[in-house]
């Protein structure tokens, strides 16, 4: 009996603890739901590497976006959105500076939580000041129009990102970037020919290069965008169309259509 007592106590205490935890999480969810847009996802953002979507993980050194780094994104807006998506969904804040024409619907489809995405479409002459201010408080800062920055400004911004633990994602050339991710656009899938079908997904080869661990220049293939707008693995999408055959252009389709 004496031996049982503490065990029962402990079990009761554990149960109590679990219940309390459950109640807290339910109440927290309720509060968040009530707070609407102020909902903050459970914060697992204290790690040094911000998460990226599964298919991109193997392509990046460290399996994610290292805090304090500069990751230059080349030649694809979709790639930029895909890189931001997972961290944003996990509760990180993103800022898109100087990207007035980014497709916001595509961003939502890629997986970004738009309530935590700040848009500074026209930073104008204050690009450096705006970016520096954003690096103070925002986890991921994507900046376009970086070609006209001077080397000194670039170094200052990189130092700011390193100091604040933010990730700077310049869109375009950035000499001295820790990592450069480029998308080599491949074939689109989903156009059946003759006007039928629609663009569903695109196979893209990622070319990652950079200093240190990444200097070997890895190459990975992903679907960008995947069939639902988010990045996906390269396996053929279920129910997707055949790849377009450029040689067999669309005459056949037109005759079908004309007949129909």
């Amino acid at each position: 009996m004496v031996g049982v007592e503490p065990a029962a106590d402990e079990r009761a205490a554990r149960l109590h603890e679990a219940r309390l935890h459950e109640a807290r999480s339910v109440l927290g969810r309720a509060t968040r739901a009530w707070g609407g847009q102020r909902a903050s996802a459970p914060s697992v953002l204290d790690e040094r590497v911000l998460p990226v979507a599964g298919p991109l993980r193997s392509a990046l050194p460290g399996g994610g976006l290292r805090r304090g780094g500069v990751i230059a994104v080349r030649s694809s807006t979709g790639l930029l959105l895909a890189l931001l998506a997972e961290a944003s969904a996990e509760g990180a804040w993103c800022a898109l500076v100087g990207l007035p024409e980014v497709g916001l619907v595509a961003a939502a489809e890629a997986g970004l939580a738009l309530s935590r995405v700040a848009l500074v479409p026209r930073p104008g002459a204050d690009l450096v000041a705006v970016t520096a201010a954003l690096l103070d408080g925002v986890d991921l800062v994507a900046v376009a129009g970086v070609e006209r920055l001077r080397a000194g400004d670039r170094q200052r911004l990189a130092a700011r990102a390193r100091h604040r633990g933010a990730v700077l994602l310049p869109v375009g050339r950035w000499p001295g970037a820790d990592l450069e991710v480029a998308a080599v656009a491949g074939q689109w899938q989903g156009l059946v020919g003759g006007g039928a079908g629609r663009l569903r997904c695109r196979k893209v080869k990622l070319r990652v290069s950079g200093r240190g661990a990444a200097h070997r220049g890895r190459a990975t293939s992903v679907l960008l965008p995947g069939p639902n707008g988010a990045v996906a693995g390269v396996e053929w999408p279920v129910g997707g169309g055949r790849p377009v055959d450029p040689g067999r252009s669309a005459e056949a389709g037109v005759s079908e259509r004309a007949a129909g």
Partner: protein
């Protein structure tokens, strides 16, 4: 019985609707005039009344009795607007004015009577003052309770304290139905048929019998006829200015000095607001430089400002102003001589306030530190670029990608987006967690079921959406294999299959694939926003050329153009085209 009602001074402007209408229409006061609503006379001037016009007459009959009658329309807003002058004039002499309705003001008699030394001097002063200020004639009545005071004002009588029942008793029960907005015609008719012709007779009935026999409104009327007050008047408070100002001497030219000054000022504003039980959601910051330039900006905040938040905003705003001032003068930022301009006066005002209870933090620690940090950074960017420099996006309904996304300035209320609502917070918008076809299929299914809950937008293009949405569509030409331009027929079919295209007058490139056209005919009832046309997806070969051609003003396009050498020659550019009025344009890029 209850407490005796307080002494009320009622100031009544006879025939106010007519007075206001005549003043607004610029009709001479000597001419007979009447305000007519629903073909019945609502009010008439004294001149018209002398010629036989009465309240409730048909318009035609009134005009028959008085052919030169000026007929005016009723407008309660106009009445209220013009009456505000009278209210202000009364307020100059006596505080605590309550406007009962346009034409009738009530205030507690005690104060002014004591101040001016008697009821008669008060009445004379008020009548003279109102006539002097506004040119409006009015009558004064003082009695216990608003009802009796109003009746007294109609007669220009000053009823002694405690003699209100005596004053009311001989009056007709019709007096219960004098106020507009109250319809007691049925009750009065009933009372007349019961032989209760005076208020005194009605008042002598036991209250419990009235309640059991006639209902709630009759109880109120009974209380009135006994000289009791149904409710004490609520005081009209003059709107107070929630603002604090600070003269800066010597003028502030350095940001840190300005921040120091703003701290005390912000504390004062918050003490002022807290004294009224209020918190500020829109903060007005005004400053005057030594050169006499007035600077002003209003800060909107999603949640009520704390004193620290106010200080931050003032500091950022001052920083932005001072920096701009220095740049304008061409001086190096940071080091300034004291004599080079600077800010001489700083003023903070609560432009929009809420009750202070709204300034409450989440009970379960919800306002995350990260959110707060990000919010501060964004507000700081707003200080640099102005409030319209930082946005968040809200997805809404619509068919083309540009109209689905709406930008909301940071700090403004973010309306809940239909997509987020339907997805729920836990869905995370369907991000596949593991690569592979199984998870991809699962995500598609999940999204499909969620999409069922969204409001339907038939004709919306499904995901993926274009990653670049051009703000200004770029023209594009499409040709078929024999070089004829491709058009859309009236049946929304292509005249022929596109084989080559030229973006914005560039060199022609081959079309490697296309899908569509998908017709769109929306808001046909709206001549400006409505349009009809078609959408088409095309794959163009030789994307480097497209990158330069399409995205002339797109930063992404420029980036793509720079990296063009790296893009393989075989890569296709996927474009979303709109056809409108027979012309093709590029609406978006899948890049």
């Amino acid at each position: 019985m209850g407490e005796p009602p307080p002494r009320i001074l009622a100031l009544w402007c006879p025939d106010w609707p007519v007075v206001a209408a005549v003043a607004a229409a610029g009709v001479g006061r000597h001419r007979p005039a009447a305000v007519v609503v629903a073909n019945r006379v609502l009010a008439c001037s004294a001149v018209a009344r002398a010629q036989g016009v009465r309240r409730g007459l048909r318009r035609r009959e009134a005009q028959a009795r008085c052919p030169e009658l000026v007929v005016l329309g009723a407008d309660s807003e106009r009445d209220a607007r013009l009456f505000e002058q009278v209210a202000v004039a009364v307020e100059e002499l006596a505080p605590g004015v309550e406007v009962v309705r346009p034409g009738l003001i009530a205030l507690l008699a005690q104060g002014p009577v004591g101040y001016f030394g008697g009821t008669r001097p008060v009445a004379e002063r008020l009548i003279d003052h109102v006539a002097g200020r506004t040119g409006v004639e009015c009558q004064i009545g003082i009695a216990d309770g608003l009802f009796a005071a109003t009746l007294a004002a109609h007669r220009g009588v000053l009823v002694e304290p405690g003699r209100v029942e005596e004053f009311l008793a001989p009056l007709s029960v019709d007096e219960l139905d004098r106020e507009p907005g109250v319809d007691r015609a049925e009750l009065i008719d009933l009372l007349r048929r019961l032989g209760l012709r005076s208020l005194g007779a009605f008042a002598r009935l036991p209250a419990s019998d009235v309640a059991s026999r006639f209902g709630a409104d009759a109880v109120l009327a009974h209380r009135l006829s006994r000289g009791l007050d149904p409710r004490p008047p609520a005081r009209r408070r003059p709107p107070e200015e929630l603002a604090v100002a600070l003269e800066l001497d010597p003028p502030v030219t350095r940001v840190d000095a300005a921040a120091f000054a703003s701290r005390a000022l912000a504390e004062r504003l918050h003490r002022l607001l807290a004294g009224h039980g209020l918190a500020c959601t829109r903060l007005g910051i005004q400053a005057r430089t030594l050169d006499g330039v007035e600077l002003s900006r209003v800060w909107r905040c999603a949640e009520p400002l704390t004193p620290a938040g106010t200080v931050d905003r003032v500091r950022w705003q001052l920083e932005a102003w001072l920096t701009r001032e220095l740049i304008r003068r061409g001086e190096p930022v940071g080091e300034v001589g004291a004599e080079s301009g600077g800010i001489g006066l700083l003023r903070l005002s609560g432009e929009e306030v809420v009750t202070a209870g709204a300034l409450q933090l989440g009970l379960w620690g919800d306002v995350g530190a990260a959110d707060e940090r990000a919010g501060r950074a964004l507000v700081r960017v707003q200080a640099l670029l102005g409030p319209e420099g930082v946005f968040t996006a809200v997805l809404g309904g619509g068919r083309d990608p540009a109209e689905r996304a709406r930008l909301v300035p940071w700090g403004d209320e973010r309306p809940a987006s239909d997509v987020e609502l339907a997805m729920g917070p836990g869905m995370g918008l369907g991000v596949p967690t593991v690569g592979g076809s199984a998870s991809a299929a699962g995500t598609v299914r999940a999204r499909g079921s969620d999409a069922g809950e969204l409001p339907p937008w038939p004709g919306r293009l499904p995901a993926p959406s274009p990653t670049t949405v051009l703000a200004r569509p770029v023209p594009i030409e499409l040709w078929d294999s024999s070089g004829n331009p491709v058009r859309v027929t009236d049946r929304y079919l292509l005249t022929s299959a596109p084989a080559s295209a030229a973006v914005d007058g560039g060199r022609p490139v081959p079309v490697h694939g296309w899908a569509g056209p998908w017709p769109l005919d929306q808001r046909w009832w709206d001549t400006t926003a409505g349009w009809r046309g078609s959408r088409l997806q095309v794959l163009l070969g030789g994307s480097a050329g497209i990158g330069e051609g399409v995205a002339v003003d797109s930063a992404v396009g420029r980036a793509a153009g720079h990296g063009g050498a790296r893009v393989a020659e075989s890569a296709d550019a996927a474009l979303l085209l709109f056809c409108r009025d027979g012309r093709w344009s590029v609406a978006g890029l899948y890049d």
